[in-house]
C-alpha cells in the first residue's frame, strides 16, 4: 500500500516540476504586461507611437518607440545580411564538402564561438572592430550600426550553422544516390537536390538566428553608440531596444512613466522573438527536421 502512495507522490512532484515552465512563461507575460498596461492607461498607448525617445527632460518627456524599433531593425537586417552567406555557406561546406577529419575539428571549434560570453565579444568589438570600422570608412566614430551588426552576426552564425547543418544532414541519402545515378555531378547534386531539400530547415535556422540577434543586449550596447535617432544609414550611431532597457533601467524610479515605458519596450521585444520562434518551430516540425 505504501508503494502505491509513494508512486503517486513521485508522479505529483514530477508533474509540478514540469508545470513550472508554463508558470514562468505566464509570469513573464503577466509581469511585463502589468507594467505596460499601466502605461497604456496613463499616459496612454498613443504616446509610444511618437518619433522621439526622450525619457528624461525638463520640458516634456517623450516615449516614442520608433527610433528604438528602427534601430533594432537596422542592426538586425545588417547582421542577417552578413550572417546568411557566411552561416549558410559554412554549413553547406561543413556538411557536404569538408573531409571527415576536417569536419570533426571545425564543428567543435565553431561551437566555441557560441560559448563566448556576449560581453567579451562586445569588448573585442570595442577595442578592435570599432577603430577598424572608423579607419576603413573614414568616419568620425567607430560606434555605428554596422559595428554592432558585425558582432551580432558573429553571435548568430553558430546557431545558424548548427541548425542548418542538421537539416542538410537529415536529407535522405537515397535522394543523393538517385541524383548521382542519373549522372549528375557532385556539385549539381548538392545545389539542385540536397540544398533545396534542406531549405525549410535552413530558413528556420536563419529565423532562429534572427531571434537571437534581436534579443542580444551587451555586445550591441557596447558598440552601437546608443543615439536614439531614426536612421537607415549603417554608418550612423543607433540605439536598440535591448540596449535601451539595459542602459536606462538602473536609473529610473520604480513606478514612473519611464519605468513603465521600458516594460513596453520589453513587451515589443518579447512578442517579436516569440513570433519568430513559433514560426521557425512550425517550419521545422512541418518538414520533420526539429
Amino acid at each position: 500500500m505504501k508503494t502505491a502512495w509513494q508512486e503517486k507522490a513521485v508522479k505529483l512532484t514530477l508533474f509540478s516540476a514540469a508545470s513550472t515552465s508554463i508558470l514562468i512563461v505566464l509570469g513573464i507575460f503577466t509581469f511585463l504586461g502589468k507594467e505596460a498596461g499601466h502605461f497604456a492607461v496613463t499616459p496612454g498607448i498613443e504616446k509610444l507611437l511618437s518619433g522621439r525617445w526622450v525619457p528624461v527632460s525638463f520640458q516634456e518627456e517623450s516615449f516614442g518607440l520608433l527610433p528604438l524599433i528602427t534601430g533594432s531593425l537596422l542592426v538586425t537586417v545588417l547582421a542577417m545580411v552578413l550572417t546568411i552567406p557566411f552561416g549558410v555557406g559554412a554549413s553547406v561546406y561543413i556538411s557536404e564538402l569538408a573531409r571527415p577529419l576536417e569536419r570533426e575539428i571545425l564543428k567543435p571549434f565553431i561551437e566555441i564561438l557560441a560559448g563566448i560570453p556576449s560581453v567579451v565579444i562586445g569588448f573585442f568589438g570595442l577595442v578592435v572592430l570599432a577603430p577598424l570600422v572608423k579607419g576603413a570608412f573614414g568616419l568620425p566614430t567607430g560606434f555605428t550600426a554596422l559595428t554592432g551588426a558585425a558582432l551580432l552576426a558573429l553571435m548568430a552564425i553558430p546557431t545558424v550553422i548548427s541548425i542548418s547543418e542538421d537539416a542538410i544532414r537529415s536529407v535522405p541519402e537515397s535522394y543523393k544516390a538517385a541524383s548521382l545515378a542519373l549522372g549528375a555531378s557532385r556539385m549539381q547534386t548538392m545545389w539542385r537536390v540536397t540544398v533545396p531539400a534542406a531549405l525549410p530547415g535552413i530558413v528556420a535556422a536563419v529565423m532562429l538566428g534572427t531571434g537571437r540577434v534581436i534579443g542580444e543586449t551587451m555586445a550591441v550596447m557596447m558598440v552601437t553608440g546608443n543615439a536614439a535617432v531614426i536612421t537607415g544609414s549603417p554608418f550612423k550611431s543607433v540605439r536598440t531596444m535591448t540596449a535601451t532597457i539595459a542602459a536606462e533601467m538602473g536609473e529610473v524610479p520604480f513606478g514612473s512613466e519611464h519605468y513603465r515605458a521600458l516594460f513596453c519596450v520589453g513587451i515589443v521585444l518579447l512578442l517579436a522573438t516569440f513570433g519568430l520562434n513559433i514560426i521557425a518551430q512550425k517550419v521545422l516540425k512541418k518538414y520533420r527536421m526539429g
Binding site: 508533474f15 509581469f31 556576449s118 543586449t217 533601467m249
Partner: protein
C-alpha cells in the same frame, strides 16, 4: 569546362567563408589571451578592487560569479531534471504536454534582457527580495531551465526501452524502475546539459544587470540578500563606464581573460564528457 571552373570557384568561396569564421574566433581568443596574460597576477586574482576598479584585483567579482552559478544550478538542476523525467517517462500525448513543450521552446527564445525585466518585476520588487543574490539566481535559473530540460530528456530517451521493461517484468514499480534502471545510465548525459547551462549562467550580463549586480562593491557577500559584483558586469563597467577607460585597459583584458577561461573551460568539460559518454555507451 567553364562550368567546372565556376563550381570550383563556388567550392573555394564556401571554404573561404568557413575559414574566415574560424580565423575571427581564433583572433578573438588570441587577442584576449595575449593582452590578458600580462595583467594576471596573484594579486589580481585574490585582492579586492581599489579606486573604483583602477587598481587591485577582481576577487569579489570572481566570488560573485561563482556564488551566482552555484545558486542558479541549485535551483535549476532539480527542477530541470524532474521536468525531464516527467516528460520522458510519464507524460502522455495531450494538451498539457504540448503546453509544456511550447513553454520550454518559448523560454529558450526569450531574450536575456527580458528575463532581467521579469526578474526585476517578480523577484526584486513583487517578492521584495531587492537586488540580491537570490533574485539573480532565480532569474538565471529561469533562463537556463530549458537547456537543462532538453538535454536531460535526451539523455533519458537514449536509455533503451528494454532496460525499463526488464525491471517492470520483475515486479518493480515505475518509480523503482526509473530510479534504479534508468537514472544511473542517464546521469552523464544530464551532466553535459547542466555544464552548458553553467557556462551560460556564468557569462550572461543582461539578467544580472537588473537583479543583482553591484557597480562597485569591494567586499564579499555575507547573505543571499546581498548584492554582489560579477565578472561579466565588472568587465562591462570597466570597459564603458570607467572615467579613464584607456588607463584601465590591462584590468579589462585581465577580467576578460578570467571570464573567458572560466566559460570556455566549462564548455570544454561538457564537450569532453560528451565524447567519453559516446565512446563508453554502446547499447
Amino acid at each position: 569546362m567553364r562550368k567546372a571552373r565556376t563550381q570550383q570557384a563556388i567550392c573555394w568561396l564556401m571554404r573561404a567563408a568557413t575559414y574566415s569564421i574560424v580565423l575571427v574566433i581564433a583572433s578573438i581568443i588570441f587577442k584576449i589571451v595575449w593582452n590578458g596574460l600580462p595583467a594576471i597576477s596573484w594579486e589580481f586574482l585574490t585582492a579586492r578592487p581599489r579606486l573604483s576598479g583602477s587598481e587591485g584585483g577582481i576577487l569579489p567579482a570572481i566570488v560573485g560569479t561563482l556564488v551566482l552559478v552555484v545558486g542558479t544550478i541549485a535551483v535549476a538542476l532539480p527542477l530541470g531534471i524532474c521536468s525531464a523525467i516527467y516528460l520522458s517517462e510519464y507524460a502522455k500525448q495531450g494538451k498539457f504536454t504540448r503546453a509544456i513543450r511550447l513553454a520550454i521552446l518559448t523560454l529558450a527564445g526569450v531574450p536575456s534582457i527580458v528575463f532581467g525585466l521579469f526578474g526585476l518585476g517578480l523577484f526584486v520588487i513583487f517578492l521584495r527580495f531587492g537586488a540580491s543574490i537570490i533574485a539573480g539566481c532565480l532569474t538565471l535559473a529561469c533562463m537556463i531551465l530549458p537547456i537543462i530540460i532538453v538535454s536531460s530528456e535526451e539523455a533519458l530517451r537514449a536509455v533503451p526501452q528494454s532496460l525499463r521493461e526488464g525491471s517492470l517484468a520483475l515486479g518493480a514499480t515505475k518509480w523503482q524502475t526509473i530510479r534504479k534502471n534508468v537514472l544511473p545510465y542517464s546521469i552523464p548525459g544530464m551532466l553535459t546539459g547542466s555544464i552548458l547551462g553553467i557556462g551560460r549562467a556564468a557569462g550572461e550580463t543582461a539578467p544580472i544587470l537588473l537583479t543583482v549586480a553591484a557597480f562597485y562593491l569591494p567586499r564579499l557577500p555575507k547573505s543571499i540578500f546581498d548584492q554582489v559584483m560579477a565578472l561579466p558586469y565588472h568587465l562591462y563597467i570597466l570597459a564603458t563606464q570607467h572615467p579613464d577607460v584607456e588607463k584601465v585597459r590591462p584590468m579589462q583584458y585581465g577580467t576578460a581573460l578570467v571570464l573567458l577561461t572560466l566559460v570556455l573551460g566549462v564548455n570544454l568539460a561538457a564537450i569532453l564528457l560528451r565524447i567519453r559518454i559516446r565512446r563508453r555507451q554502446k547499447w
